[in-house]
C-alpha cells in the first residue's frame, strides 16, 4: 500500500478530499478507497500512462520558440482529481451566474447612462483612472447588451471552507482547453473509476461556446461564419485558440486574414475571394484589435474592426471595453454592483477587501499592513503586490507611501490560506494548495457555467502560486453527484 490516508496531515488546512487524517469527505470516499488499494507499481503505471497520454495529445500543447525547436510548455499534471460535490457546485454555479449577469449590466451602464455613478453607488473618479475603460465604446449596443461573453473567474477556498471569488477575468481568459484535455487524460487512464462513479461530464463546452457565439450573429443565416482570432503561433495560448477553433469547426484566423471593406463589413481573405464574417471570438487584447482606433502600431488586429462592430455588422466576443470590470478596485465593488442591479444579495462572496479609496478602509489598511495583502488595481499575475506578513519593514513603509500617494490604485485583503488537495509527490501524497477557474458563457438568452473548471495546483510545498510559469500544475476537477451519499 503506497497511499496511507492516516498519515496525510491536514491540520490547520481545509483539504478538498480529506476531512481529518484518515477520514475522506463523503464525495471523495470512493476515490480515496480506490487510491489506497493501489500498489507502488500501479501508481507508477498510472503516472506513466497519464504522461504518455499527455505526450501523445501533448504534441498539441507544445509552444515553439522562434529560434530553435520546441519548448514543451505542457503543464505538470497531477493524476489525483479534485472533487466538489454537486450540491455545493450548484450553489457556486448560481453565484457565478448572478455575478456575471450583474457585471454585464454594470459594463453596459458604464458605456451608457452611468446610473450607478449618478446614484452614488460607484465613485465616478474611479472610472477616470481606469486603464481598461475604453471611451471608444461609449454608446455602443452589442447584441443583447452583453459585453463579457466568456468570463473566467478564479475561486479560492479559505481554511474555514468558504469559497470566494478572487478575481474575474473578463478580457481574454484562457485555460479551458486544459480543463477539457485533463478530463480526456483521466478517462483514458482511470476508465474503471469513471464506470463506477457519477462524475458529471465537461466535454460539451465547445458546442456551448459555438451556440453562444452563433446567437450573436448580426445576420439571420442558418450557419453564421464564426472565426477565432489569434495573435498567432508565438502566443502562449495558441494551442488553445487552435483547439477551440477545431472543436467548433470554426476558422482560425490572424489579423492579416481579415479586412474591413467599404461597406463596414468584415471579410476573410480566402482563395475563393472575400468571405463575410459574422462573429469573431477574439483572443487579441483590446489595444491591439484595431490600429485605426487603438494602438496604431498593432499588426495583430484589423483596421476598421471597430467601425464594423459599431455598425452592428460583426459581433465581437468579448466586446472591447469589457475589461473595465476586471480591475481589482472594481472587483471590490462587486457586492454593491450585484445589489444595485439585481436587488439581490451576492450568493458567492468576494474575499473581504478594504478599498484604500475610502478613508476608513485606508486607515485600517495602513495600520494593519503587516497582516494584509496589498494589490494594485491594474496588474495581474502577482506583479506589484505586497504580502504583508512576509514583507520587510522597509517594503511595508514603501507601500504605505504608495497607498497615500494614489489610494485609488490599491486594495487590501487578508492573507488567505488556500485549501489543499492530496497531490502525488513521488509515490506518496502530500497536501498542495489550489484554486479553481470556472468559465461562464453569457449569450443574449442564456448563461452557462462549465461543470467545475480548471483546477490549478501549486506543486511546491507550502506555495500558493498556481501560475504555470511559477511551478504550478493542474488537476482534473470532478463534480460528483452526491445525492444519496
Amino acid at each position: 500500500m503506497a497511499i496511507r490516508w492516516g498519515s496525510y496531515k491536514v491540520r490547520g488546512l481545509y483539504d478538498e478530499l480529506i476531512r481529518v487524517a484518515g477520514k475522506p469527505r463523503p464525495a471523495a470516499a470512493a476515490l480515496c478507497q480506490y487510491l489506497r488499494n493501489l500498489s507502488d507499481r500501479e501508481i507508477e503505471e498510472y503516472k506513466a500512462a497519464a504522461e504518455m497520454a499527455i505526450h501523445l495529445m501533448g504534441v498539441t500543447f507544445t509552444v515553439y520558440s522562434e529560434e530553435e525547436g520546441s519548448i514543451d510548455r505542457a503543464w505538470p499534471f497531477d493524476i489525483i482529481p479534485r472533487i466538489i460535490p454537486k450540491s455545493e457546485w450548484m450553489q457556486i454555479e448560481n453565484g457565478l451566474k448572478q455575478r456575471v449577469l450583474a457585471l454585464n449590466r454594470f459594463i453596459d451602464d458604464l458605456y451608457h447612462e452611468q446610473q450607478i455613478i449618478g446614484d452614488g453607488v460607484f465613485p465616478g473618479s474611479l472610472l477616470k483612472n481606469s486603464v481598461n475603460f475604453r471611451k471608444q465604446c461609449i454608446g455602443i449596443d452589442p447584441p443583447g447588451r452583453i459585453w463579457a461573453h466568456i468570463c473566467g473567474s478564479d475561486l479560492v477556498r479559505d481554511k474555514d471552507g468558504a469559497m470566494y471569488v478572487l478575481e474575474d477575468n473578463l478580457r481574454v481568459p484562457s485555460g479551458v482547453s486544459y480543463m477539457l484535455e485533463n478530463r480526456l487524460v483521466m478517462k483514458r487512464v482511470f476508465t474503471d473509476l469513471f464506470e463506477n462513479q457519477n462524475i458529471l461530464p465537461v466535454d460539451d463546452y465547445p458546442s456551448q461556446l459555438y451556440d453562444m457565439l452563433a446567437a450573436l450573429s448580426p445576420r439571420a443565416v442558418e450557419k453564421p461564419e464564426i472565426v477565432v482570432l489569434t495573435p498567432g503561433i508565438y502566443n502562449s495560448a495558441y494551442f488553445e485558440h487552435a483547439y477551440l477553433a477545431q472543436q467548433m469547426g470554426a476558422e482560425l484566423v490572424e489579423g492579416r486574414d481579415l479586412v474591413v471593406d467599404k461597406d463596414n463589413c468584415v471579410y476573410m481573405l480566402t482563395v475563393e475571394g472575400l468571405s463575410r464574417v459574422d462573429v469573431i471570438y477574439r483572443r487579441v487584447d483590446d489595444m491591439f484589435l484595431d490600429p485605426e482606433v487603438f494602438n496604431p502600431e498593432s499588426a495583430l488586429g484589423v483596421a476598421g474592426l471597430m467601425r464594423a462592430w459599431k455598425a452592428g455588422n460583426v459581433a465581437l466576443a468579448n466586446a472591447p471595453g469589457s475589461g473595465v470590470a476586471d480591475d481589482k478596485v472594481v472587483y471590490s465593488f462587486v457586492p454593491e454592483i450585484i445589489r444595485y442591479y439585481l436587488n439581490e444579495e451576492p450568493q458567492i462572496g468576494n474575499v473581504p477587501t478594504w478599498k484604500c479609496v475610502n478613508k476608513e478602509d485606508r486607515e485600517y489598511v495602513l495600520e494593519h499592513i503587516a497582516e494584509l495583502v496589498i494589490k494594485p488595481a491594474n496588474e495581474s499575475g502577482g506583479y506589484g503586490m505586497l504580502i504583508g506578513p512576509q514583507a520587510t519593514q522597509k517594503e511595508r513603509e514603501h507601500f504605505k507611501k504608495l497607498i497615500r500617494k494614489d489610494p485609488r490604485n490599491y486594495i487590501g485583503q487578508p492573507l488567505l490560506t488556500l485549501s489543499t488537495a492530496p497531490t502525488l509527490v513521488g509515490n506518496r501524497v502530500e497536501p498542495r494548495h489550489l484554486d479553481l477557474r470556472p468559465f461562464i458563457l453569457t449569450g443574449p438568452d442564456s448563461v452557462q457555467v462549465t461543470t467545475g473548471g480548471l483546477t490549478r495546483v501549486a506543486l511546491r510545498k507550502g506555495s500558493t502560486v498556481v501560475n504555470s510559469s511559477q511551478g504550478g500544475g493542474s488537476k482534473d476537477t470532478w463534480i460528483v453527484d452526491d445525492e444519496g451519499l
Binding site: V59, T60, Y64, G69, G232, I233, A242, A245, Q246, E251, L252, V253, E254, R256, D257, V259, D261, Y267, M268, L269, T270, V271, E272, G273, L274
Partner: protein, 311 residues
Amino acid sequence: MLSRVAENIYWMARYIERAENTARLIMVNTNLLLDLPKAGQLGWQPIIEILGCEAHYLESNQDYDERTVLKYLISDTSSANSIYHSLQLARENARTIRDIIPREAWERINGLYNTAKATVQSGYGRKGRFDYMQNIILGAQTITGLLAGTMLHDMGYDFLKMGRNLERADMTTRIIDVRSADLLPEHEMMTPFENIQWMSVLKSLSGYQMYRRTMQERVNRPFVLKFLLKEKKFPRAFFHALLEVKDCLKHLPRNEEAIELLNDVGKKVLRADQAILQQEELHRFIDELQLGLADIHKVISKTYFRHPVAE
C-alpha cells in the same frame, strides 16, 4: 480556405520538393564527375549558375572548390536553394498549418529537418554524400506519400500539389541544363561520353528504368529530352507536372488566367523539336520554360493569395 493557409501549404510543398531536388542535382553532378575524364571537367560552377545564384554565391565565396560549393548547397542559411534552408522554410510553413496537415506529416517534416541539420557535415565530402542525399530524397518522398495517403484531398491538397509540381518542373529543367552546360561546343572532348551522361541524368531523376520501359530506345539525347520534357506519364517529366497543376486548377475558382498561361507553356514544350535543341538552343529554351513557370506562379499567387482590398 484562407488565402494565408493556402499559401503556406503551397510553399511548404515547394520547399520540401526543393530540398529533394537540390539533393538530386548534387547527386547527378557528383556522378558525372566520377564518370568523366578529369581533364576539361567543369566542376561545380555550372550548378551554381543553373540555380541562378552566382551573384549571391560570390558574395561570400571566392572559388568553386567542391567542398565550398557543397557547403553552400547543403547548409548556407542565406541561400534560397540550400537543403537546410529549404527544410527550415518548409518547417516554418508547416508549423502554421498544423491543424491542416496530419500530425505524422508534421513530425516527419520536423524530423527530416533535424536529421539534415545534425548530419550536415557528412554531405560535404564524397564519402558520406550518397547516404546524406539519399536520406533527404527518401525523407521528402515519405512526407509526400504521407500527405497523399492521409491528408484531406480538398482544396488545400490542390495547393500542395501545385506547389510541388511547379517546383519539380522547374528543377527538372535545371537538371537537364546541367547537361547542356558542359556540352557546349568548347567542351567537344566530352562528346564521346554523351550517352553516359544522359544516363546519369535519367538516374538522378529516378527515371532510367521508366525511360527504358516507355521509350524502348537506347539512351540518347533526343529521346531522353523527349522523355523528360514531354512524357505525360513520368511524374518528374515537365509536361506531366504541368498536367498535374492544371488538374488542380480545374478544382479552383477564377482559374481562367492561370489555365490559359499553363496551356501556352504546355504547347511550347510539346512543339519543341529535339533536332533544333542543340546545346545553346536548349539552354535558351530551358530559360523560356523556366520563365513560363515563374509566370504561372505569379498568376496563382495574384489570384489566390493576394487581395487588392488588403493591399
